[in-house]
Symmetry: C2
Subunit: 373 residues, 2 copies
């Protein structure tokens, strides 16, 4: 192997690989990246066996070849280099030579044969989604996946096809941890082919989100029996699916509401942040006292003291007192694309609260209230 | 107690206190700040018993009084508030009321009597130093204090008075950890009165460095038997001294040198950073091969590989091969005020290396070489 590559391009390749390779692994090769020099491109493969990224970067190849090298050291070296072009070459004794300006490194490497063989199947049918849409639906839902790996059916992200009011097909991504639920939708083309009893794992979707750079780039999403592939012209990400049946979440969605509250989003966010300081005990709970023209928030901590604040609100329906985990609302406000207003639709004190954003028919959030003493 | 204070001013007060109060302390009161409202100012006292800050901030006092409140919660609350003025008041039941805009907090407090009594003595004689100079000499020396608390005599910073070449008096701050030494000097006025067998502790000087905001503000430094005071018009910091006799460091300073090397500072720094990646084993050691027109740096890691790089250098004297702990040079380059060049003065391979910066007769650094295999 002997090649010249743009330093920025290589840095991008290794930055992407960092999120995937395992730092502390019993299989040494999994802390490495596989480098394959072929026909005008360097292919960089990174994997933790569940998630595999195969991506191509333009390079001037003097001699084809393959080898693996420890990902983190390689990244550190390339980051510290100062000239625009990097020369990579295999030395005789299982080392990768890295030469740039007056600096030369020889890094311990392993032969390509020691890199694990990874099943990489694109799936026969695929759908296409815009990069920006793909990133958005992940950001707007991933935060409410259950982090408890034993919650079978909740420990991953559900995908399904729905039809928008205008009749166009949409891809809906849904997550829940049992106390809250989020969904967000994006237009797609092609055929939806994900198995009903399969979920997408959190780490895989985090990687997809990181990999989307150009919002207008087209991504193809394909499914084989146990994995999904996310591909663009230059990269392919394979994600092992999680087995599990997502709950019948539509049953949780209330069919109507007797109360509707409109809040200024930024003002609501600021007051939640203030009340959160005193709501660190007991599941971050606070009292929500919905009045005709304002929402009064209050929280008490036995050790620290108490807090009370309010935010202007337009309430349709009768006043209501209930309790919520503040961080559920803060997560929504932090992750959902910017807007001026936020709308809460509620029934009685212990009914689920629906959170909507005006002008957005493509996302919806449900927050379960808490019983306060 | 009842007062109104500018939020920014209060935030500044509590930010300063954060560095001093103990988070996890067996004495509950030490995680608190003492608030004393009196005659047009709020006095905020923070202490870990070894270091005490007493600082005054302008405030509109409606009713004088004192109480203590947990420092971190108080800081979090003030940081989250949105209006420019904060109303602080004692409630009947041992709470501090905090009111700002539509938000109101009541935070658990302790009566002022429960706050520890702290000896605060200014010292009868004092010297005066410019804030900017004080900060500079701390930054240029603090990094080479021994972090080993059992190294009696090395686990603190030494101060002494010296006379500059132009005959003016200077305050010299000196630190060493046994493998390297740093000193830096600043002009002063008044009388130097620190005891010979006393050292300034690291945490105290870190606080002084943080407290210097205006480089032109005058700082008075006074000494009593077991403590030092650092004071400006609005604040007083009391620092308990560390007992210990600083070594006779002048004996370590070589009286002459047979080799002198001039390096571009930025280029040297960049190459040290590169070589450091492969010098993570064995005390961060690297080989320094001084040649007529360049310095060749090389390092080997059994597990990772090896690295070689070079930087242009002007050498007076014979070529020399020796070894150094790279991080000692990186610390110096990171902490010492900017300059274009760096000068190394050396004797033989195992003689101490003197590091100077052209145009700076007020600081000097010594780095001991390492024996390489």
């Amino acid at each position: 192997m002997d090649l010249y590559i743009d330093r920025e391009e290589l840095l991008r390749a290794l930055g992407r690989a960092q999120g995937i390779v395992e730092r502390h692994t019993t299989n040494l090769a999994l802390s490495h990246v596989l480098l394959s020099a072929q026909e005008g491109r360097l292919r960089v493969t990174a994997s933790d066996t569940q998630i595999t990224l195969v991506a191509d970067y333009p390079a001037r190849i003097e001699q084809e070849g393959e080898l693996t090298v420890e990902a983190q050291t390689f990244f550190q070296i390339i980051r510290a280099l100062g000239e625009p072009t990097v020369h990579l070459f295999a030395t005789g004794n299982n080392r990768l030579g890295i030469q740039c300006g007056r600096s030369e490194f020889k890094v311990v490497s392993l032969p390509a044969e020691e890199y694990p063989t990874i099943a990489t199947q694109n799936g026969s049918q695929a759908m296409r989604v815009r990069g920006g849409d793909l990133r958005r639906i992940i950001e707007e839902t991933l935060f409410s996946v259950s982090t408890d790996e034993s919650r079978f059916g909740l420990n991953g992200t559900h995908l399904e096809e729905v039809t928008a009011e205008d009749g166009t097909p949409r891809l809906r991504m849904v997550t829940t941890d049992g106390s809250r639920l989020s969904f967000s939708e994006a237009p797609y083309e092609g055929e939806f082919a994900m198995g009903a009893r399969m979920l997408l794992p959190r780490k895989g979707l985090e990687q997809v989100r990181r990999l989307v750079e150009d919002p207008d780039e087209a991504w193809s999403i394909g499914f084989s029996e146990r994995s999904a592939s996310f591909t663009t012209e230059t990269l392919r990400l394979f994600v092992g699916l999680v087995e599990g049946e997502f709950p019948e979440y539509r049953k949780v969605l209330p069919s109507g509401h007797s109360r509707r509250v409109v809040l200024d989003r930024a003002a609501f966010d600021a007051e939640l942040k203030r009340i959160a300081i005193m709501a660190s005990d007991r599941n971050h709970s606070a009292r929500f006292d919905f009045q005709q023209d304002k929402l009064v928030l209050s929280a008490t901590s036995v050790d620290t003291g108490d807090a009370r604040t309010e935010v202007a609100a337009e309430l349709e329906g009768e006043p209501l007192q209930t309790g919520f985990n503040i961080s559920y609302f803060r997560d929504i406000l932090q992750k959902v694309a910017p807007s001026d207003k936020i709308v809460l639709e509620m029934g009685e004190a212990l009914d689920p609260c629906i959170v909507r954003f005006p002008g957005r028919d493509d996302c919806l959030f449900v927050v379960m209230p808490m019983r306060l003493d």
